[in-house]
Amino acid sequence: MTEPRPAASPSRRDRAIRRVRNLTWAVGAATAGLATSLSVVAAHAFKGHSRQTGPATIVAPKAPTPRRVTVPPPERVPAIAPGAAPLSPAPTPPSAAPTPTPAPPPAAASPTPTPAPAPVPQTSGGS
């Protein structure tokens, strides 16, 4: 059989209440400090809109300062194209073919050899 616990004295009860109050304040302060710290970190990590309030206004973007940049040539433009030499006519234009002449009668003894006849014409046509 156990004896009943004696009732807490008022002074002990006041000390207990003060410890609980201090603990609550400390936890609250720590929470507030942590929240502030995280807010600062988040604000730096994710840049948001400016604090400007009021009606929305359209602000023209600031024109970039012109500057010379070197852009590599487009990959898909063939390198040959820009320097393509124009189509050229032949130095000597074509001429009318000579009129065919009948073969001369064979000579008995020709002192000079007769030149060979021109090769037969080659045909340029679709293929």
């Binding site: 898909r76 194209a81 234009p93 009318a96 090769p119 014409p121 045909t123 340029s124 046509g125």
Partner: protein, 305 residues
């Protein structure tokens, strides 16, 4: 009777010929031309799985380290596009495939096809780094170098043949794209212009004489399939060009320049007359009625007897 100064053989899905002024130079000249064409085919063919161009087109946006020949061919194609404001554009490859020209022309089956326009991506999509030897096209972009690579092949082959046969005149005819090099024969090389490079002698044509440079002819009357499809694509529509002209022949300082101009003229249609005149390029344009128009110093046609 075969001419000992002329050799002809099939190449690049068409016919190649080399003509020399001295028959003794023919074997070496032909060998040089064959080597050039073999290299060109390996670099630029759209129909060979092992070509560099096929590897580039299949790269899905990844660049390839290209051979000097493919680099040159792509550079020539881009120059053509730049000089024609994109009228002659190498990024028509997908449009050609959609139009039905998806394999070697001899294998295309006749029959109706349904043409659907394809937005041509444009030549500015092509990335070339000449210093590093890199070429890249974005995913889904397919290059076709056919318009200019054959002419480049004619120029290169003529120069190569002249290089192995000094003081000998050389003419190379690659499916109608003609380039000459070295001293020309007296009176110049005779070149007959017609709708088709295989045209029979009785077909409408004109014969001219050229001393230097090249001659190229573009025509909508050849490499046709389906109902009205042909190989000259208008990059503005992604469809075969509907032109006022059926055939355009141009003479220029090189076969490449002649080819660029003749292809552009087909696509430009009625505007081609002024366009060619402003560039002082002699040209002959034949409309669908068979009337021939000439520009610049193109020689007059001899009146029919």
């Amino acid at each position: 009777v075969s001419d000992p100064r002329v050799a002809t053989w099939p190449a690049l899905g068409t016919t190649a010929s080399v003509v020399v002024s001295d028959p003794g130079a023919l074997p070496a000249a032909r060998q040089a031309v064959e080597a050039e064409l073999a290299a060109l085919d390996l670099a630029c063919s759209r129909f060979r799985d092992d070509s560099e161009l096929s590897r580039l087109n299949a790269g899905a946006g990844r660049g390839i380290c290209a051979s000097p020949l493919l680099l040159e061919a792509v550079a020539v194609a881009l120059r053509a596009a730049a000089l024609t404001d994109g009228i002659v554009d190498p990024t028509i490859g997908e449009a050609l495939v959609l139009a039905g020209y998806d394999r070697d022309f001899a294998e295309i089956e006749a029959g109706p096809i349904r043409l659907a326009g394809w937005r041509v991506p444009g030549w500015r999509q092509v990335f070339v780094d000449l210093a590093r030897g890199e070429v890249r096209v974005p995913h889904g972009v397919r290059l076709d170098l056919g318009a200019t690579a054959k002419a480049l092949g004619a120029d290169r082959a003529a120069a190569a043949a002249a290089g192995v046969a000094p003081r000998v005149g050389v003419l190379v005819n690659l499916g109608g794209d003609i380039a000459v090099a070295g001293p020309p024969p007296a009176g110049g090389w005779l070149v007959r212009v017609a709708d088709d490079h295989r045209a029979p002698p009785e077909a409408p044509s004109q014969t001219i004489a050229v001393a230097s440079g090249g001659v190229a002819t573009s025509s909508t009357t050849v490499r046709r399939w389906g109902a009205g499809a042909h190989h000259i694509i208008d990059p503005r529509t992604g469809l075969p060009a509907e032109s006022r002209w059926r055939t355009v022949s141009v003479a220029a300082a090189t076969c490449v320049d002649a080819n660029i101009a003749s292809t552009a003229a087909i696509v430009l249609g009625g505007d081609a007359l002024d366009w060619l005149a402003e560039r002082h390029l002699p040209a002959r344009l034949v409309d669908h009625g068979g009337d021939a128009w000439t520009v610049g110093h193109w020689p007059r046609e001899r009146a029919a007897a």
